[in-house]
Symmetry: C2
Subunit: 353 residues, 2 copies
């Protein structure tokens, strides 16, 4: 028996902001399962900022990369049964065969059985998945020690990572100032308990805002954005400030080399530590992190929101929308009408697009 | 009894590279000693790169900052006797009264009694002083863990800090590539055991040099220079590379804001840690460091050289010369003909200017 499946490829290299016409939907035929194989059907697909920067290493015709939340529909592997919910770096495919589910490169086929009751399984693509871990390790490991009373600045704060960073920092007694790009997002940050929330598109001078909202300087800067925003934030850092360089979404669609002030003098006089990271560095501590974040979700101390786009074939729109800041919380694509989770149960609210 | 003393002040704010005419020699009268006071006569004066950047915080008429190696000539304090050699942040003065020798701010009056036999006491201003500690902590703490086999790049490598960094890294099994600005300095780096030494003024393209000399990339970058040199080095860093941001001497005399490539994307993809520091952070571990460096000096594994300028009144020339790269090893100013040390005994060689 063979199975028809769809995949979405990068048909043309992105030049600046990706366009829907840069993608193509293609059919493929999956080979019959052999012993040890698992056949999965994608229920939810994740779109994340890293895809834009990693696409530089792709060739035209390559399947778009990314993680999916899927359902096992056929299994010839003893550890997986039909109906299991699983996470996998399958790329943008609506069905796929996993040849070696235990292969740790880049990541094994992971069962989603750790989501607190009453919360959607789609959290495995958000707060209780890669974005949540990015926030957790990027704050607690890169910026350690995170001390009560410190001032934390986070940008793209209403996104999948930023919202978790802010709430984690609050739960550790920090004063949190978040930046986002719409009034609705700013309102959301206030609901999440951010001490200050600012619409960077309408605020006027960031310099003035920081003087006013961070009068004692900034101890921790969790940077998802980069560019000139960061130049200004850096100049407000305190002695022994720590900068978690998580993303530079402001630069991903740049076509040329971006330049800004040279920071060396500032790093020296303020003794600042600045570190970039990729979250898979902490693979060995992953489930500890999921337990810690899961406990906060269970206690209502870690709220979340999801923005969903309906239809596998609309994944390119979802990616472009996310890069343009259209989402609040995690942006995900619903691929199957029968998919569990992601329906706004639990503490989560949902915005459909 | 009153004592006449000389001091050198910043008479005019520096605009770009300091000029001799920006300084002025002034006389002052020291008050008689009271109980607890110590009168010191400067024997050697240190000129260091940090003075150029710190001068931005000085007013016209302020005494130039800096450390001296001095001799106690009168003491009304039980812990100091006439003839003691002492280090002090006295500023550029040929005689001075220390009112409270134990005051730890910025640093107490420190006896120089820890220099290995057969080596000059002036090492307390170099390898066995602030510059040595800068190299030691800046490498071992900021870049930790320093692993055998790693590739280390250091610039201003023939200077007081760089030469120690290179030898320390060699003693830990690293492969060390040093950059300096004259063929004589390059020759000196080879004598010190650097694996590769390059004259950056005549090398042509740094990009090509790094491709050739660091074919496996760079793990540790000890940066004394900053600017475009750093931009290029950074692009050759390996995964988990560490950058010790010690100085940016290429930028100190800039009159405007210098700009260069934005590094965030690079920091993320290579997971680079970049940290600036001021060496007094490790005040509590100072003497451990001096013991470790002293042991290397004693064993002949830490060589040094000094460049001396004769005459207290020539300190401005010495500072300017050092900023222009005229020194090999530590640049010091001989203030008293009767001064002990600094005369090229031990393993040290000396260049007089």
């Amino acid at each position: 028996m063979t199975t028809k499946s769809s995949k979405i490829v990068m048909a043309r290299r992105f030049d600046g902001m990706p366009q829907v016409s840069d993608f193509a939907l293609q059919e493929e035929t999956l080979a019959p399962l052999e012993d040890g194989d698992v056949l999965c059907e994608t229920v939810w697909l994740s779109v994340d900022p890293y895809m834009r920067s990693y696409s530089r290493n792709m060739k035209e015709g390559d399947v778009m990369m990314g993680q999916t939340l899927s359902k096992v529909v056929e299994s010839r592997h003893p550890n997986y049964v039909v109906g299991d919910l699983v996470l996998y770096y399958s790329g943008w495919r609506d069905q796929y065969v996993v040849k070696n589910p235990d292969d740790p490169r880049p990541w094994p086929l992971q069962k989603v059985n750790y989501i607190p009751e009453g919360h959607p399984s789609t959290l495995s693509l958000g707060v209780l998945g890669m974005p949540g871990a990015t926030a957790y390790f990027g704050l607690n490991e890169i910026c350690k020690p995170v001390k009560s009373g410190e001032t934390v600045v986070v940008n793209a704060a209403a996104g999948a990572v930023g919202a978790v960073v802010g709430q984690l920092a609050k739960s550790q007694g920090c004063r949190v100032v978040g930046f986002a790009g719409t009034d609705e997002k700013v309102e959301y940050l206030r609901e999440l308990g951010f001490d200050e929330a600012v619409n960077y598109k309408t605020m006027g001078s960031l310099e003035d805002v920081l003087c006013s909202l961070c009068p004692n300087g900034i101890d921790i800067y969790f940077d998802n954005v980069g560019g000139s925003f960061s130049d200004t934030v850096m100049s407000h850092m305190n002695q022994f400030g720590r900068v978690s360089v998580c993303g530079c979404i402001s630069q991903y669609n740049n076509t040329g080399q971006s330049i800004g002030p040279r920071l060396q003098g500032l790093l020296i006089s303020k003794q600042i530590r600045m570190e970039g990271f990729l979250v898979h560095r902490w693979k060995d501590q992953w489930m500890e992190c999921m337990e810690a974040l899961g406990a906060l979700v269970r206690e209502g101390k870690m709220k979340y929101r999801e923005t969903t786009v309906d239809g596998f074939e609309r994944a390119p729109e979802a990616l472009i929308g996310m890069l343009q800041g259209e989402n609040i919380g995690k942006m995900i694509v619903k691929c199957q009408s029968g998919g569990s989770g992601g329906d706004g149960d639990g503490d989560g609210e949902q915005c459909k697009q």
